[in-house]
């Protein structure tokens, strides 16, 4: 009698744990890739940026990225991390002035991954170039190697990191296309979200292998190019109207 009672109590709580609690914790249960499966190359994440739509003086993407990844500045612009930044450029011939966001280009032939001595800087099979911060020794060679100055080094002890974006002193970091958020089923990166919410729609993110994705639509309806395509790095970030 006692044993049966005991068994019922234990199994009831175990079942509660297994079924109810997890679904309470993850509201976004419709993950595109199931959380327990390895990421595959069936998706190829990419981004399109239409610089004509980018507004001068707007920093929505930068603020959203800082918020999403817990990037707190220390009032030291030379050493504070920047995963995305706004740049204002002027065409030498036409003298047209444009502003645009600049971020990691997620190259298919990334120089940063070629030079990393431990392989911490790596390219995930779905195209996201990121740093495995468990293996990074902080040598900064990848920062020397990046033609777009996409990488930042964490110069001080951090204490207010976000749970979804672990980062720490002594390691190198850069835009990871909101990989944590994407793996959990989000269809947008934080910067894209903010740009849409701000009404500009300059940034479009999605699966380049899906012919119906908004990023494919954006690329097909504009004539985008890659920055420094003479280097043949085959970036996944495309720019239009530069």
């Amino acid at each position: 009698m006692n044993n049966r009672r005991h068994f019922l109590v234990k199994s009831a709580s175990a079942l509660t744990m297994t079924f109810i609690v997890p679904s309470l914790l993850s509201s976004n249960a419709q993950a595109k890739k199931p959380l327990d499966q390895k990421v595959t190359d069936k998706k190829s994440w990419g981004m399109h940026i239409d610089v004509d739509k980018c507004a001068d003086g707007c920093t929505a993407c930068v603020d959203a990225c800082n918020e999403e990844n817990g990037l707190t500045g220390f009032g030291r612009p030379e050493t504070d991390s920047q995963w995305i930044r706004k740049i204002k450029i002027k065409d030498k011939t036409t003298e047209k002035i444009t502003t645009m966001p600049m971020l990691c280009q997620h190259c298919e032939n990334p120089p940063c991954c070629d030079v990393c001595p431990t392989g911490a800087s790596f390219r995930r099979v779905d195209g996201i170039v990121m740093v495995n911060q468990h293996t990074c020794i902080g040598c900064r060679y990848c920062m020397m190697a990046c033609p777009f100055k996409a990488r930042s080094f964490v110069h001080e002890t951090l204490s207010t990191q976000n749970t979804n974006a672990p980062r720490g002193k002594g390691c190198v970091e850069s835009c990871n296309l909101c990989v944590n958020r994407i793996d959990h089923g989000s269809e947008t990166t934080a910067c894209e979200d903010a740009c849409i919410k701000a009404g500009h729609n300059a940034i479009t993110f999605g699966d380049l292998k899906d012919s119906n994705s908004k990023v494919r639509l954006a690329i097909e309806s504009n004539s985008p190019r890659r920055l420094r395509d003479d280097l043949n790095l085959k970036q996944k970030v495309f720019y239009s109207n530069i």
Binding site: T16, V39, G70, N162, V179, D183, T188, D193, I196
Partner: protein, 151 residues
């Protein structure tokens, strides 16, 4: 009937317990404050397995998560923290690597230093997602884009 009532009220009391209670294996909790783990029957693995091998689970899981994108909650560090972090009377999370808290309890006794929290958040902290665009808004934008393309 009476027995059923007693059993169900016992279950209710156990599950709804707000008092800092014993840990799931009967030992008293030493960390001040209350954590979700207080009310759980068991950890994701048996206690003696966890005690001896939790670092192996973490070491394996971290490669699976970072390189392969496997983000199951079972051996996830974020989930450990979520459950084991203590909250003070005001409901604010106490950093899990603070003195007297869950990790430092054993790690100080065994004199093994952990560097997890030089990078990982010591309390659950997520970005403010209220500004997130909804899925419906997204669908609308995609439709407009497709219409422009087809024109």
């Amino acid at each position: 009937m009476l027995r059923l009532l007693i059993i169900s009220s016992l279950i209710f009391v156990c599950m709804a317990s707000l008092q800092p209670s014993n840990a799931h294996d009967g030992n008293p909790h030493i960390s001040p404050g209350k954590s979700k783990a207080d009310s759980q029957e068991a950890c994701v693995e048996p206690t003696d397995v966890m005690r001896k091998e939790h670092y192996l689970f973490l070491l394996h899981q971290r490669d699976e998560t970072v390189v392969n994108g496997i983000r199951t909650k079972n051996h996830s560090l974020a989930n450990c923290i979520d459950c084991h972090v203590s909250y003070d009377e005001k409901g604010k999370a106490i950093p899990i690597n603070a003195e007297g808290q869950f990790c430092q309890d054993c790690h100080v006794k065994t004199a093994t230093n952990i560097t997890c929290f030089s990078c990982h958040a010591a309390e659950p902290r997520y970005p403010n997602h209220e500004k997130t665009i909804s899925k419906d808004e997204l669908k609308e934008i995609s439709k407009i884009a497709k219409r422009i393309k087809d024109e």
